[in-house]
Amino acid sequence: MFFSKRNLAVILVLISVLAFLLVSQKADLEIISGHTTEAEYKASVYNPTELQNLVKKDKDKYVIIDVRSKLEYDKGHVPGAVHADYYDTDALKKAAGDKTPITYCAFSAMRGPYAAYQLYQAGYENVSLLNGGISAWAEDIQGLNSNDPKVKTVFNHPKNIFPDREKGDYPPNQGETEVSITATKFAFEPSQIVVKHGQKVTLHLTSLDIVHGFALPEFDVEEELLPNESKTVTFIADRRGNFPFVCSVICGHDHSSMVGNLIVK
C-alpha cells in the first residue's frame, strides 16, 4: 500500500529536508522577487586589492574614474585614475572611452554608484565600483597620487555637491503628480517614474526595512530614509530627459545596484 509506515516516514523526511532548504534560500528569494525593470542592472564591486590586481593584470582594458569634485581629485586620487564629475555624462563617457569603467567617490555611497549607473545607461554594460571608495584605497593600499603636495586630507569638501543647472523653461499649468516610492534591499518600487515636463512632482519616500537613502541629484534631492518613516520632496520637472536616482546610504552588498529613473516627457 502506498501509505505504508515506511513510505510515510520517507515522505516526512523529504518534506523536512525541503523545508530546511527553502528557509535557507529565503533571503535570496526576497532579493530576487519584487524587482522592476532595473533588476538586470548589477554593478560589480571590487575591494582595493582586487582592483589593484585587476588593473595590474590588464591595464589596457580598464579605466578608473574618480567622480568626486576636481578639488578632491587634485588633493589625492587612486594612482592612474582620471577625473570626471559624477553627474556629467559626457565627461564620464569621454573618460571611459572604449575601456571598462570602474568608478569611485569618497565611500562609494552615492556619487560612485550614480556615475556607474550613468555609464551603464550610456551603453557600458560592464561597470564596476571600488568598494569603500577612496577611503578604502587610502587605508588598504595607501599610495595616492596628488596634484597638491601639501595635501592634508582627501575629504575636505562639502558633502552635497549637486550639478549646477540653470532652471529650465517649462510649460505652465501642467498640474501636479504624486508618487509613492518604497525602498527595500535592494530596489526602489517603482524604479521608473514618468512625469510631464512642467509638472509639480511630489515624491513620498519610505524605507520598508533598513536605513536607505534617495538621491536625485539633477533636482537637488537627497534624503535619508529611516525605516517606516515617510519623507516628502517636491520639485518642478523643469527639464526633459532621463534622470537617474540612486540609494545614497550604504545598505548592503547590492547597494550600488539600487537605482531608478525619473523620466520627464
Binding site: 528557509v23 565611500f107 525605516p227
Partner: protein, 254 residues
C-alpha cells in the same frame, strides 16, 4: 529500518529548528582595532585629558576597587566607532598614515548592526559603538542610538554632529558563544542629549559590569558610573559628576 528513518527525521528537524532560532553573529576582526591582550581593569581616567572634566570621584574609585582581581573576568575592547551618515562605520581614534580614518570592513558585523535598524524607535539611528570580548568569549556590544539632522553633516564633521545629537539611548548587547548565539540587550540609560556608555571599568565573574557613561550637549559634560547585571539587565548608579562650562566651569559630583 523504521528506526533509521525516525532518527534521521529527528536530526533534520533539530537542525531546522536550531537554524531558525540561531541569532546573527560575527567574528571579531583586526579592522576593529581590538586590543591584543585581555585586561582585568579598563583604563578609565578620573579626569578628561583635554578639558579636565571630572569623570568620577575618589569615593567611586574606592568602591570600584573593592572587587578583587581574582573575581574579575578579563576582557579586551575594540576602538570606539561611529556610524557615518553614508552608512559606513569608522573608528574614532585609530588612524592610518596621514591621519586618514579607518573603517570597519567586517561585513558580517556591519550587517549585524544593520539588522537592528528596522526595530529602532522612529527617527533614531545608530550613532556610536564599541565591541568588547571577555576571556570566555562573550561579546559585549556597547552602542548608542539617537537623532540628528543629516543635512547638518554637510559642513560639520560627523563626530561633532553626533556629539550634539539628541534623544539618545545607550545599550549593551551580550552575545554568548553557544550554538544558538543567544543574545540579550539591555538599555543602560537615556538622555535628551547625546549619551554613550562605552568605557568599561571591569566585569566580575558573576557578570556584573561596571561602566562609565558620558552625556554631552550644550555646555555640559556629565559622567555616570553604572553597574549592570548582565544576567537580567538590572542597573544601579554608583556615581555621577556633572561638569558645566557655559559661563564658568563648574563640577558637581554625587
Amino acid at each position: 529500518m523504521k528506526r533509521i528513518y525516525i532518527i534521521f527525521f529527528a536530526i533534520v528537524l533539530t537542525g531546522f529548528i536550531m537554524h531558525q532560532l540561531k541569532g546573527p553573529n560575527f567574528r571579531i576582526s583586526s579592522d576593529m582595532a581590538i586590543a591584543q591582550n585581555y585586561i582585568k581593569r579598563g583604563n578609565v581616567p578620573q579626569k578628561d585629558s583635554d578639558f579636565g572634566f571630572t569623570h568620577y570621584t575618589k569615593e567611586t574609585e574606592q568602591l570600584l576597587g573593592t572587587t578583587q582581581d581574582i573575581d574579575l573576568s578579563g576582557f579586551r575592547c575594540s576602538d570606539s566607532f561611529v556610524r557615518t551618515d553614508q552608512g559606513a562605520y569608522i573608528l574614532e581614534n585609530e588612524k592610518i598614515k596621514n591621519g586618514l580614518t579607518r573603517r570597519i570592513k567586517n561585513d558580517d558585523f556591519i550587517e549585524f548592526m544593520r539588522k537592528k535598524e528596522p526595530d529602532l524607535p522612529k527617527g533614531k539611528k545608530i550613532l556610536t559603538g564599541k565591541i568588547c570580548e571577555t576571556e570566555n568569549k562573550i561579546k559585549l556590544i556597547f552602542y548608542s542610538i539617537g537623532m540628528y539632522d543629516t543635512k547638518t553633516v554637510d559642513n560639520i564633521s560627523i563626530r561633532k554632529v553626533i556629539a550634539y545629537s539628541n534623544n539618545n539611548n545607550a545599550f549593551v548587547q551580550k552575545i554568548s558563544e553557544n550554538p544558538l548565539n543567544t543574545q540579550q540587550t539591555f538599555e543602560i540609560t537615556t538622555s535628551k542629549a547625546h549619551i554613550r556608555c562605552d568605557q568599561p571599568f571591569h566585569i566580575s565573574r558573576n557578570n556584573i559590569l561596571f561602566i562609565l557613561c558620558e552625556e554631552s550637549g550644550n555646555w555640559i559634560s556629565n559622567y555616570l558610573v553604572y553597574s549592570v547585571d548582565l544576567k537580567d539587565g538590572s542597573l544601579s548608579v554608583l556615581g555621577k559628576c556633572m561638569n558645566s562650562f557655559k559661563d564658568k566651569s563648574q563640577t558637581i559630583c554625587d
